[in-house]
Point group: C2
Chain length 458, copies 2
């Protein structure tokens, strides 16, 4: 038997039925015909539907419009968009203009979430003109290799999704669909892939299927793109997510269960639970909340990370010990959450001055502080120190001070916060909008730990 009973059961639910296939295919063919009707471009279905590696229920249909490389970039964008809008109109869809490296059209036609993307029809990835030009090559490569492995790929994608590591966006930092496909192909099936992840993986792993890489990559996992020797397909996979996947695989082998393929509902905290938690932790909890900037998550999320870290550093610099921090981009509002060990700090603060050997600065520091300190200037390890009055003795005080806006914030975050933001403390940090985020922050578990008890209790 190639698959376990569990895996067979899962495949029955995730493998698309013939009827579903027929529907997708007919919509795809209609769209392709429309592209081909134009004189400028040739249509091509890409993505998991083209590669037969899609999971039942998937509604994402990606249609590329391939233009001749002689077309200028400006014309590609103009003609691409106008063609995409024409097609959308013909099917009665509403075109939404989106932007990756260049503009494309997203729309909903016959129940499918459709992207219509212009790109160049190049001969080789060495001649790439726009970032999406690589995609058709991925589709051709995988189509050639997946024979006999489609079910394995479905299992792998569903397993990664259940683990919470499916997707290469900045919020997830996990496994792209193409990466799952390459890993299953490399290991020769779902079972071997999981076994390797559970027992052999560690950072620095390099997989180079075509043995053609032209450089070294410094990400935790390197999977050299078979169609582009200078690209790491796993570039956006973080070490943590790689570890979480590895742990999930270990857990699955330790106690196999269908739970490892379930896409579970996210838990949320009630206000009551939140109050209990902060009482039992005894820490000092604060939230900075502001309107979500008007930009895509892949732009905003890294800026939230930068901002939460900038404020964390500001707090530490002022003597507050930050136990944990996190950030979340909600539909309407963003939150930066901080947990400090203590609410208050003593009245004095020790300030490091220049080394005695830096005579000009040392003399300046000496005369500036003399007679105006709790202690010092004194000398320790050949440096001047003073103990002076602490500026911020209370964590609420500092988080409501101008120091926050002077921290290292992301550009969009600063822009939004300049228009206004709220600082909440303790029980006031709770809001419905962030109830799932707050659950994940305080009831933080690794993917396997999260389901371990469920399995045990079944």
């Amino acid at each position: 038997m190639k698959y376990s009973k569990i895996e067979d059961n899962i495949l029955l639910t995730i493998r698309p039925k013939q009827e579903e296939r027929d529907r997708v295919e007919s919509v795809a063919l209609e769209l392709l015909a429309e592209v081909d009707r134009s004189e400028d471009a040739t249509g091509m279905v890409v993505g998991s539907i083209a590669r037969d590696t899609w999971v039942s229920g998937d509604r994402d249909l990606d249609v590329f419009m391939l233009f001749d490389p002689s077309v200028t970039r400006e014309d590609l964008e103009k003609k691409g968009l106008s063609l995409a809008k024409e097609i959308t109109a013909r099917f009665g869809g509403v075109p939404v203009e989106k932007y990756a490296e260049h503009p494309y059209i997203n729309t909903n036609i016959k129940g499918f979430d459709i992207d219509l993307v212009p790109c160049y029809n190049i001969r080789s990835t060495a001649n790439i003109l726009s970032a999406v030009d690589r995609t058709p090559f991925h589709t051709r490569y995988i189509k050639e290799k997946v024979t006999g492995l489609t079910d394995d790929i479905l299992l792998a994608k569903r397993f990664a999704k259940s683990c919470g590591v499916y997707g290469s966006d900045h919020m997830t930092e996990g496994f792209a669909g193409y990466l799952c496909e390459l890993l299953v192909y490399h290991y020769g099936g779902f079972g071997n892939f999981i076994k390797a992840a559970a027992s052999e993986w560690k950072p620095g792993l390099v997989i180079d299927i075509e043995d053609h890489r032209t450089k070294d990559f410094d990400e935790p996992l390197t999977v050299v793109d078979p169609v582009d020797p200078g690209r790491n397909v796993a570039a956006s996979l973080s070490a943590s997510k790689m570890a979480e996947f590895s742990e999930y695989a270990r857990g699955y082998l330790e106690m196999p269960s269908e739970i490892f393929f379930e896409v579970r509902k996210k838990n949320a905290l009630t206000e009551e639970e939140f109050k209990e938690i902060i009482a039992e932790r005894g820490t000092s909890i604060h939230a900075i909340v502001f309107k979500t900037p008007n930009a895509i998550p892949d732009i905003v999320v890294p800026q939230l990370r930068k901002s939460v870290l900038g404020i964390e550093e500001m707090l530490e610099r002022n003597g507050f010990s930050v136990s944990r921090y996190s950030e979340y981009m909600g539909e309407d509002n963003c939150i930066l959450l901080f947990e400090l060990l203590n609410e208050n700090l003593p009245g004095i603060i020790k300030r490091e001055g220049p080394p005695l050997w830096n005579r000009v600065h040392a003399e300046k520091f000496f005369h500036k502080h003399l007679g105006n300190t709790y202690a010092g200037p004194y000398i320790e390890n050949a440096r001047y120190y003073v103990e002076i009055e602490r500026k911020y003795k209370n964590s609420k005080e500092i988080l409501n001070s101008p120091e926050v806006l002077q921290s290292g914030l992301g550009r969009h975050v600063r822009k939004s916060m300049n228009k206004g933001y709220n600082v909440f403390s303790g029980e006031d940090c709770y809001s419905e909008e962030f109830s799932v985020f707050l659950h994940d922050f305080f009831r933080k578990y690794s993917p396997f730990a999260e389901i371990y008890n469920d399995i045990i209790n079944k």
Copy 2:
């Protein structure tokens, strides 16, 4: 004029008068005669009295008893001690046996504090048999070089003493008398020495008068011993004390005053002042007090430093933020003093587990903590973490726990503390015995800062 008015005035008070010289010389000659009367050894006066570099009022007279190198080490000690005791008896002194590298006799005769030290009469420092064999060479070298510089040396020694950095013992970590002599000789006088210290010194400075060093030293200041190319005379000078001296010299040049040569009385805190200080600082202050171990300061002081650091590390490891710490060896009791930013810590503590890639330990950690945490096991940077209940939430509690004796303590300290120790907190940390130490801890100033206000207010 070679010296300033201030320096001339100081010299009048510190230069020994003829009468004082005559008395020292007569005592020294009597002692030498007694050594020479024995058939085993030859007498030699060493130290600052022999070198004419002593300050009026000095009462330290060092007489070495030079034995032939053919004498065994055992015999040197036996014969040396018995001869010293004989001489002591002849003058009606009480012999006190002391121990540096080997035993010697300390006694008080005719108002002088006399050391009678056995050593080998070697030809060259290349043939050193015992650590003190080098001393006669130092005396001979300096006697040859000091002509015209004795007053400069007196000023330098008194200046260093006023600064609090005179002495190469472990408590002071400052300038030995021999080091002062060499520095004055090297710079060609007190004035140039002070100017160099004020404006040119920085760590890594190497002074090699005989240009014969056989290796590199990594101490902040290197002054190669003119009689031993493999030894750094400044080895025990700490970077802090070197900086303090440099600052003091800068201060003296900035505002010359006799204060820079005064040996000032140490200030002490009253109990009232102490109470005011700790109230105004708002920190959490604790003292560990125990009987002073029965050993010389050069043994005990480094062990106190090790112990205070060991306990400081234990506190930090348990989440307490130590703002400052210090140690002091009193006549009867020793004190280890800690100032923490906060008295209390929250109920949770974050514990770092193994990296996920260390599979055996990771699985053990996972199963140990699962279901038994505030949060986790969770994954961060590919490592397991848990949040569990903090063992010690209060600083008094941890300092009264067995953790203290399990910290990295010095041997003699541990022995004394095993017999009993007290932990005091807040106002209870005060005691008369430590009133000077507490002053220096809380009213901590660099030497120049300490006298700056005095000068200004004069």
